[in-house]
Symmetry: C2
Subunit: 401 residues, 2 copies
Amino acid sequence: MSRVHALNQLSTRRASGMSRSKGPLVDVHTHVYLPRYAAELRARTAAPRIMNWTNPAGKAEERLLILDGEPNAGRPVGPQYWDRDEKLQFMRKHGIDISFVSSANPWLDFLPAARADSLARELNDDLEDYCSTSPEAEGFSGLKTLYGFGLLPLVPGIEISHILQTIDQIKSLHHVRGVIMGTQGIGKGLDDEALEPVWEALQEANLVIFLHPHYGVDSKAFGEKSNGHVLPLALGFPFETTISITRLILAGVLDRYPSLRIMLAHSGGALPQLSSRLASCIDHDPVVAKRLKHNARYYLGQLYYDAVAYGPEELDFVSGIIGRSSRYGAGGGQYQTQIGSQRLLFGTDHPFFPPLEASQKWQSVEDNLGAIRAAHWNGLGVAAQDDVMGNNALRLFGLSQ
Amino acid sequence: MSRVHALNQLSTRRASGMSRSKGPLVDVHTHVYLPRYAAELRARTAAPRIMNWTNPAGKAEERLLILDGEPNAGRPVGPQYWDRDEKLQFMRKHGIDISFVSSANPWLDFLPAARADSLARELNDDLEDYCSTSPEAEGFSGLKTLYGFGLLPLVPGIEISHILQTIDQIKSLHHVRGVIMGTQGIGKGLDDEALEPVWEALQEANLVIFLHPHYGVDSKAFGEKSNGHVLPLALGFPFETTISITRLILAGVLDRYPSLRIMLAHSGGALPQLSSRLASCIDHDPVVAKRLKHNARYYLGQLYYDAVAYGPEELDFVSGIIGRSSRYGAGGGQYQTQIGSQRLLFGTDHPFFPPLEASQKWQSVEDNLGAIRAAHWNGLGVAAQDDVMGNNALRLFGLSQ
C-alpha cells in the first residue's frame, strides 16, 4: 500500500470517530494458525482438526472443528487463518497499524508432551519469521507491522524445565513479545503449584501473558436447543477466563508475582462484574481470606484487559473497576482516574466473527472501535482513546518511541 | 419493638448513609426453609439434607448439605433458617421494614412429581400463614412485615396442568406475590416449549418470578484446590443465572411474553457485562438473530434485578445497562436516565453469608446498603436510592400506598 493511500485511509478512519484520534491503532487480540499448525490439524482424525467437507451447495471446502460435538459441524476455515497477506489486508481495511498475533486455540493442548515441546519451538521460530519479515509499520520508524505471542508446551506430562527452556527461546526472539496461554496449565489448571517456576520465569522475562479461553464450561448447561455457537462463545468463553484468573488470584499467584503482566481476553470476561461478590464470598471464608494479601478487588488493578467487549458501557465499567482497585489494597488508596484507560487494549479477535458478506468491513471490529470512541473514559477523551487504541500496547510491549 | 425504638433505629440507619433516605427499606432477596420443608430435608439420607453432626469442638449441631460433595461438609444450619422471630430480629437489626421471603434452594427439585406437587401447595399455604400472621409494618398502614414468593412443582414428570393449578392457588394467597424459580424447569431448562402455558399463566397472573441459581456450573472447572464455597458461590451461581436467562431470551420467551416480570438474583449475574458480546455473537449467527425481535441488549430493560452486587460501581453499571436497553429495541430509542434505578431492588440473601461473630451487623447487608448509598445513580441521588431501597419493591408487588 502506498504511503499516500495509507495516510488517506488513516484520515478516513480517524474522521469516522466521535473525536479525532492521533495515535496508532494496535490490535492485541488477533489470531493465526501458522501453516505448520494448520498442517498438524489437517493430519488429525479427531477434534481439533481441519477436515474436508462438501458444503450444502456442493462445493468442497475445509472446515475447522475445534471441539468434539461442536454445533454446525464446526466453521469454515480458509486463508484468513494462515495467510499473512490476508492478515495484512484485514489490517489495512480497518486502519490497523500494528498487530500482536497469537496462535488461536486450542494451541498445543491436545498433543503428547514430546510433540508439544518440539512444535512449540518450531512454531515460535515460525512466528518470529512471520513477524520479522513483515512490512515496516508506515509512520512508525523501525517498527514492523507484526509482532507476536509465542507458545509454551503447557500439556500434561511435560517437564517444567522444558517450559522454562521455551521461555528462554522466546526471550531470544525479538518480535515475540509474550505468550498466549489457555487455562489448563499442565493438566490441573493455572493454580497448580508445579507452575511456580513458570510464573517466576515469565515475570523475570517481562513477557506479557495473554490468558485466553478455549473450553468454556460443560455444554450440558446450555441445554438441548440449537443456538449455534452463541452460548459457548458469548458465555462459556468469558466464564472460563473468569474462573481461571480467579483461581490464580485465590492461589496467591498475583501476591507472589505482582509484576506478572497478564492480559485477559474479552475484557476479563465476567470478573469485573463479579469482583465485589467474589470479595464478599472470600470475606465470609476466613481460611481463604487469610491466604491473600489484599481484598480480591485489588488484583483487578494488576491486570491488563483487551477492549473486546463490544460496548462503551462495558469498557467504562471495566475501566472504573481497574480505577477503584487501589482502594482495596492492604494499605488503602484512592480511586485512580487514568489507570483504567491505561490497562485496556484494542483487539479484534480476527479471523473469528467474520462479516456475513466478504466485502464488508468487519462488524465486530467496527463495534469494538466504536465502543472505544463512544466510551466516556472518566472524561479523559481523546487521550484515553489513543491509549486504548494503541499507545498502551506500544508501552506494554516495549515499543514506545 | 416499640414505635419509638423503631423510629430511633430508622433514623440511626438513615443517618449512617451518605445522604438521608426517607423511604422504606424492603428486602426482596431473603430466604426461609419453612418448618415443613426443614422436616423434609431432615428425613433424607442424600443431599439435599439436614443432618446431625458433631463439630470439631465436640458439640452436636445440625448441618445443611445442599449438594453432594459440597466442601466443608456443608454449612451450619439453625433457627435463622426456619424461625420467623429470627427473621424479624434480623430485619429490626438492619432497619428492614418489609421482607419478601422465598424458599431457599433447591426448592422441590429433588422430589418425585407427586410429592413436589402436594408439598408445593402445602408450603404455599404455610408461607401465606407465615406472612399473613406477621406483625404490621410500623409506619405502613395496612401492610405486613412479611410477604412471600411461592413455589411451583417444577420437576420432571409433572403435568403442566398441575403447575397451572398451583399458579391459581398462589393467586388466591394475598401475601404471596410471586414465585421463586430455579433454572431447571421440568428437567430441560427454562427454554423448554412445554413451559409456554406456565409463562402465559404467570404473565396473566402478574406474579413476579424470582429467578435464582442452585447448581452453578460443573465443579470440575473449579479445580482440585480447596477454596471453600468461594468459587461455586461467587462464580458458579451467577453463571447459572446468566445461562438460564440467556436461554430464555434466545428461545424468544421475552418476545412472546413481554409483560413477564422476571427478577434476576445477584443483579443478573454476568448478563450485564456480557450482553454486548452476546448481541455480537447473535449478530454473527443469522439463524439465531432472525428468531428474535430485538437486539439482545434490549431484553435487559424488560427485567428486574436485585441489588445484591456488593459494590456501587456494579450497581451503577447494571443501572446503565438497563438505561441503554431501549436504544436496542427494533424501533430504536434513547437512553433512559431513570429506568435503571427503577428496576434494581435491595436484597440481603439472609440467612446466607452470616457474620463471623453472632453479635455483629451482617457485613453482607451493610455492603449492599452501602453500595446503594454510594452509587451515583445517574445523578438522581436520594430519589434513586429510595427507589432501590424499597419504593420499587412496593410498586412491583402492588403494595404502594
